[in-house]
């Protein structure tokens, strides 16, 4: 007795594979975030219980007011003129430290802007990098003027 049987399809249907693949792509494209992976490097000096006293005449003091305005050696000055002011002083003494003292109420970005500007000194005609010091409030109260 001949029994007719329908042949069983032995293939896996793959027509929806492309749809699933594109859904996965869309998921990764939506969830991928571009992380910031670069920044301004800032070497911290070693803690010194008795750091050398730096006289006012031996350094340049950049004060950042709470409003973000700069006062350089007690002269108000826009950020764009700071390097121009520093150039003749550092030509005489390239190792002269530049001290940045932000007001505690000033926004953080102003300190970063000033630090970034000073770090660009070698690209703007200075022979070497500026020695930058950013004392903390604790250090100012303990050791500095």
């Amino acid at each position: 007795m001949k029994i007719d049987r329908e042949p069983v399809d032995d293939e896996i249907p793959t027509s929806s594979m492309a749809d699933i693949a594109f859904l996965l792509i869309i998921y990764f494209m939506v969830t991928t975030t571009f992380a910031a992976t670069r920044g301004l490097d800032f070497a911290l000096p070693e803690e010194d219980d008795s750091p050398p006293v730096i006289e006012k005449e031996d350094s340049v003091l950049i004060e950042i007011q709470a409003s973000g305005e700069l006062v350089v050696d007690q002269n108000p000055m826009p950020l764009s003129e700071v390097l121009t002011y520093l150039q003749p002083k550092l030509e005489v003494n390239p190792k002269k430290p530049v001290i940045i003292r932000p007001d505690p109420q000033s926004p953080y970005r102003h300190m970063v802007l000033v630090l970034d500007e000073l770090r660009q000194a070698p690209e703007k005609g200075f022979k070497e990098e500026i020695r930058i010091s950013i004392p903390t409030q604790r250090e100012i109260e303990s050791f500095w003027y």
Binding site: T37, G39, L40, F42, P107
Partner: protein, 144 residues
């Protein structure tokens, strides 16, 4: 005269390779995705000078509200109460690796007082170098 039958042009686009292309794209995204140890949402300051931050650097994140999160670079960041906790955390990290780099991810609008306390804590913990995380400063930012 019997003219040969004109072949009708196929009206379908072959899509057999679409799945291959899709899987290649998936593999690309899976390989390039990086997992951040800190997901604190901050507005970063902008700088012209930007150097590549080492992988596995420790993170200290400070948002505009003053909340602090820390991570040694190996796990997701965890909240801490204040700068003294940052000091304890940094001491622990430096004890295992004295040359460990630290990244300060702070919102640009946070008061410098808060940043100053964190930098002071890192200094006291004998951290040697920190990276101030930033975005790129464009020509428009400089002009404005």
């Amino acid at each position: 005269m019997k003219l040969p039958e004109s072949r009708t042009a196929a009206g379908t686009i072959p899509t057999a390779s679409m799945a291959d292309i899709a899987f290649l794209l998936i593999i690309f995204f899976m390989l390039t995705i990086t997992f951040e140890v800190d997901k604190t949402q901050v507005v970063l300051p902008k700088t012209s000078i930007r150097v590549e931050i080492p992988k596995k650097a420790a993170y200290v994140a400070l948002d505009e509200a003053g909340r602090i999160k820390v991570s040694s670079g190996e796990e997701l960041s965890a909240s801490v109460a204040g700068h003294e906790d940052v000091f304890s955390f940094a001491v622990g990290v430096i004890a295992t690796d004295p040359n460990k780099e630290f990244v300060l991810k702070a919102d640009e609008n946070v008061a410098y007082r808060d940043v100053d306390q964190i930098i002071d804590a890192l200094k006291r913990a004998k951290v040697r170098i920190i990276y101030l995380l930033s975005n790129e400063r464009t020509v428009d930012d400089i002009a404005g």
